[in-house]
Symmetry: C2
């Protein structure tokens, strides 16, 4: 249980958004919009990253329930083209996300905490993959008693994170390392990654369920 008192620094609310607008040909013929192929549509393709980013922000603690937003857009086969949902934890934390094949490319995460706010606008793929760094924005520790005139809301700070390898290289290195360790009998198959995937899938399925139940709350049972 997260303490929400003023002395603690905690994440209270998260919003993520992953959309792209690949055009009419994609919406007609891509495997991502076919019920018998990638039947989870925009929720599976883009909502997955939104949910995973939200779970990352709460140390992968599953929400107690989800409630999909009314008005999800489905194609003629019943595949989700655009939808969103709220997610709720027992201690009052909450999250919302929006995923879609209809809006311009947007990759946003906003984390609101008691003492600060973090924003990323390129969370699954950095703006400049080849430059060896990525950035995020942070605002924190505002002293309401000492706000300068005309600067009620100070500009957030930009932070640069240098990266030696791209995320895809890191993923292959991690995978190869885990396989090698199992092959050399140094460890049993590692369970962290499948566990995180399963948690993401659990939430995703609950959102789909909420849509299909006419936007009713769906409890998450792990």
């Amino acid at each position: 249980m997260t303490c929400l008192c003023f002395a603690c620094v905690v994440v209270l609310q998260i919003h993520t958004c992953l959309t792209y607008n690949p055009g009419p040909e994609f919406l007609k013929s891509s495997i991502r919009v076919k019920a018998d192929l990638d039947g989870l549509g925009a929720l599976g393709d883009t909502g997955w990253y939104c949910i995973r980013a939200i779970l990352w922000a709460v140390d992968y603690e599953l929400p107690k329930s989800v409630l999909a937003f009314p008005g999800a857009i489905l194609n003629q086969e019943g595949v989700i083209i655009s939808c969103g949902s709220s997610m709720h934890w027992e201690d009052g934390r909450s999250a919302t996300f929006h995923c879609s094949f209809l809006s311009h490319l947007t990759f946003d995460v906003t984390l609101l905490g008691t003492k600060g706010c973090l924003r990323l606008h390129d969370f699954p793929l950095p703006f400049e993959e080849n430059l060896g760094y990525a950035t995020f924005s942070e605002a924190s520790e505002l002293d309401y008693a000492n706000i300068e005139p005309g600067r009620w809301c100070p500009k957030p700070n930009e932070h640069v994170v240098e990266t030696q390898f791209s995320q895809e290289v890191c993923m292959v290195m991690e995978f190869a390392d885990l396989v090698q360790k199992v092959k050399r009998c140094e460890m049993k198959p590692q369970k962290t990654w499948p566990l995180l995937s399963r948690k993401t899938q659990l939430v995703l399925d609950a959102v789909k369920d909420s849509i299909h139940k006419g936007y009713q709350p769906v409890q998450i049972v792990s």
Copy 2:
């Protein structure tokens, strides 16, 4: 009715967020948390701006319905301290907002359209009020067929808007001008501003109603 075909450039989804964390003394004694004073709490103080920004983005067309997010936080007097809601238009457009007295200062608007995305992180009060300009970020017209390697998501463009006067000065000038015109019998009292305020209040009341009805959808009747 907005056309959602691929040829048209329309706003499809809007997210706004206005939060600040004024601390325990405020939550104990401010008029903004007293049921018999500013009884709308965080919804009235910060949600108002979120709703108004959303209405601005859709040319003040009222949504058909709202659905508050489960888990709104109320104080012992029943005043809203933190809440959020989705808003829905008949043609498929939607919006979400989050307002709170518990999270660090955040002033965000994100507009997702078919062909572009706009972001502001200081929508009610500019970061630098005294500098005579404000900025917003825009990304648009991505050509999926010609994405450069490593630049799947190009960095958004920053735009600078120069301002001769602060928004408060503009408001007083507008008000004084309207009063003068009525005094000189040049026009009857102007109805635009009260109409926009009334629309904002209608949505706000519907969100409060949705919370009090246990997070049920509430239709907007103008």
